[in-house]
Amino acid sequence: MSMQKAIIQLEPLTCPSCMQKISSAVRALEGVDRESVEVLFNSSKAKLNFDSEKISVEKIADAITALGYEVRKTQVKPV
């Protein structure tokens, strides 16, 4: 296990159901710590912890893009 923290800046979110969609989609990914997923509506950011041996931040960003939300910037930090 090597956990890392990802901060993903999204396009401005406009509907609260977007938050539900994004957080359920990200939670469903293998290697993402379900408890840590946090989608901030007003600052349009997703924050989560993930296991970098199982999944990459690019894969997580892809899952969000596939929902139709633009990912503007990703940042990875040690937990």
Binding site: P12, T14, P16, K21, N42, S43, A66, G68
Partner: protein
């Protein structure tokens, strides 16, 4: 394909509008129902595509979103051959979403301005001894950086060399630039107005004070109060419930159109978006004015505060002793002041510093044979005269005679809570000074404003003696004042107030009053953006400006009211529309969608009013 369609939502909205217009024109001009219907069908299919994709994606992650309701409704309308309605509903939904995004961006402008102030690059000292511009993410602790005039300080650190004036308003809210020299601390996000500094990085990125403030404000805007959590849970079941209700209506009444209309009317948009919008605007306004409120629960509680408890030193008073009154008993005050200043310049006693600051630059005299009398003062020889500076006890030791007027002055100043400094030259009293920690300017007016905002009791708790505390209380018109209080006495007193059912805010400087700040319903720290203050309190007044306090309370009240208004608008609109469907026949799908989108815009616009909130 999906991405292609979603990325072109704006174009689709425009095409859909053009098609609908074409349809109406063709109907009016040529009276041709086939072209009319065909164009409307194309408009519907075009318009529903992005909505259907979003609905499908939502269903994939088991969320029944508004998109699902709209998609089902439009499909249903196409099935019953009501092409006009289906086209108009999709257009209104898309157009509404576009307007929402535009206005939401405005509401979020306050926080965006804040994040945009974050520094992006830095001039870093490289191995070759040159400074090179790098991204701020590449700066590590211990790096040496150069800051030029007009540039942002990229990290928290200490000045190595150079001098300059830094505008720290982003951190402290204080607009007057602060002088920085070697050894001074500097904060990320502040601006060097003139001069050049070399600094060593101590904290970078999100660990800087500025980074923490941004993170706090972002979190605060999304933090949820109990009401909001309730609405969240509610809306998760609400949308599927609307779907079920519509099916039920269809089964019972066999009226597909009615069922579809209910689907459209049931969209919970305004309800879900109303409260976060008030929140972001209110907290954003605060952030812009140097007031940090940690989330909507804090805003709610703060708006109901009826008792405010204040610490004295550093909160109501400036925390720095100043010369308040001076009496002269000499024909030549200048000479006496020169002697006094020369003696006091050599001392670092707080009272001596207050005096030096008060008298300003004076002619300096030669001071010899300085003798410090512990607890009483200083005796020295100045220009050949024996000068004693100290309290009454020192004057007695020096056998300085005091006449009636002098005794009266001493008595009066002592009564006012001042510390006394007397100056005698060759055994004669020349100057009497009263030094005290004075009330900050404007505090009295601001306390009255707080009362007008509905605070019933203003209470002063202080470690000072009861007499000093009583004086301050009388001067400021406080409800109650207690002296000789230790930090634990203060928190015990606050607990007592809470037991009596009061909602208590404690206002302190955030350093020595942490227990009270934590215990009070709302802890308000008057701090210059220190870490302790930011972490232990609920509300931070970024510069120690007391006048922000009424603004903060007024803003909290306005924000709480705004949230209630938005909930009322949202619920009211749904009720009126539902009543319209069942009790009359003016409501159809398009009107339903129109009113629904209008109500969403109404709550966003209502929230935006908070951005302009000002306390007069």
């Amino acid at each position: 394909m999906q991405k292609f369609i979603l990325a072109r939502k704006k174009h689709i909205t425009i095409i859909s509008a053009v098609l609908i217009l074409t349809a109406f024109v063709s109907k009016l001009a040529f009276g041709n129902p086939y072209i009319f219907e065909l164009t409307m069908i194309i408009a519907s299919v075009f318009g529903v595509a992005p909505i259907a994709i979003q609905a499908f994606q939502a269903l994939k992650v088991k969320v029944v979103s508004i998109d699902v309701l709209v998609t089902v409704a439009v499909t249903g309308a196409l099935l019953i051959k009501n092409y006009e309605e289906s086209a108009i509903v999709t257009f209104l939904f898309l157009f509404g979403a576009y307007l929402e995004q535009r206005t939401l961006n405005k509401t979020r402008s306050a926080i965006r301005e804040l994040t945009e102030m974050a520094p992006e690059s830095a001039l870093k000292l490289m191995e070759n001894g040159e400074f090179e511009e790098v991204n701020v993410d590449e700066v590590a602790e211990g790096d040496i950086l150069l800051v030029k005039t007009g540039a942002k300080v990229p990290v928290d650190g200490t000045v190595l060399k150079g001098e300059g004036y830094v505008n720290e308003s982003t951190i402290t809210g204080e607009p007057v630039p602060v002088n920085k020299t070697a050894g001074s601390g500097v904060y990320a996000g502040t601006i060097l107005e003139n001069g050049t500094l070399q600094i060593v990085a101590e904290r970078v990125g999100e660990d800087t004070t500025f980074g923490k403030i941004i993170e706090l404000v972002e979190k605060a805007q999304d933090s949820k109060s109990k009401t909001e959590r309730f609405i969240d849970r509610f809306s998760r079941y609400y949308t599927p419930a609307v779907l079920a209700f519509a099916v039920l209506v269809w089964v019972i009444s066999r009226d597909l159109e009615l069922a579809i209309t209910i689907l459209v009317l049931g969209c919970p948009g305004a309800l879900v978006i109303g409260v976060p919008v008030s929140n972001v605007a209110g907290i954003g306004n605060g952030a812009r004015n140097g007031i940090l409120m940690k989330g909507s629960e804090v805003v709610q509680t703060f708006s109901r505060v009826d008792t405010m408890v204040f610490d004295k030193t550093g909160t109501l008073t400036s925390g720095k002793p100043r010369v308040a009154e001076t009496e002269f008993y000499t024909e030549d005050p200048d000479e006496a002041l020169d002697y006094l200043a020369s003696v006091e310049k050599e001392s670092d006693h707080p009272l001596a510093r207050a005096i030096v600051e008060h008298v300003g630059e004076r002619k300096s005299c030669t001071v010899e044979n300085t003798n410090v009398v512990k607890g009483e003062g200083i005796v020295a020889t100045v220009n050949g005269h024996r000068v004693a500076v100290g309290n009454v006890a020192l004057m007695e030791r020096e056998n300085v005679p005091l006449d009636d007027k002098m005794r009266k002055d001493i008595e009066r100043l002592a009564q006012s809570g001042s510390s006394l400094v007397l100056t005698s030259v060759d055994g004669e009293l020349k100057i009497l000074m009263g030094i005290r920690d004075q009330v900050r300017p404007g505090v009295r007016d601001n306390l009255r404003k707080l009362e007008r905002l509905g605070v019933k009791s203003l209470i002063l708790l202080s470690g000072d003696n009861q007499r000093t505390v009583d004086l301050t209380a009388r001067e400021l018109g406080l409800t109650e004042a207690r002296g000789n209080m230790l930090p634990e006495d203060k928190s015990a007193y606050i607990a007592e107030l809470q037991d009596k059912g009061h909602i208590v805010a404690f206002v302190g400087d955030g350093v020595n009053d942490s227990p009270s700040l934590a215990l009070a319903d709302i802890g308000i720290a008057m701090g210059g953006g220190t870490d302790v203050a930011i972490e232990t309190s609920d509300v931070v007044l970024m510069n120690s400006d007391f006048s922000r306090l009424p603004h903060a309370l007024g803003l909290a009240k306005a924000t709480a009211r705004n949230m209630l208004q938005n909930i009322a608008i949202a619920v009211g609109v749904v009720l009126v529309l539902l009543a319209g469907v069942f009790l009359s026949d003016w409501v159809n799908m398009s009107i339903g969608m129109f009113v629904h989108e209008a109500s969403i815009l109404a709550v966003i616009l209502n929230g935006m009013r908070l951005l302009g909130y000002k306390r007069r």
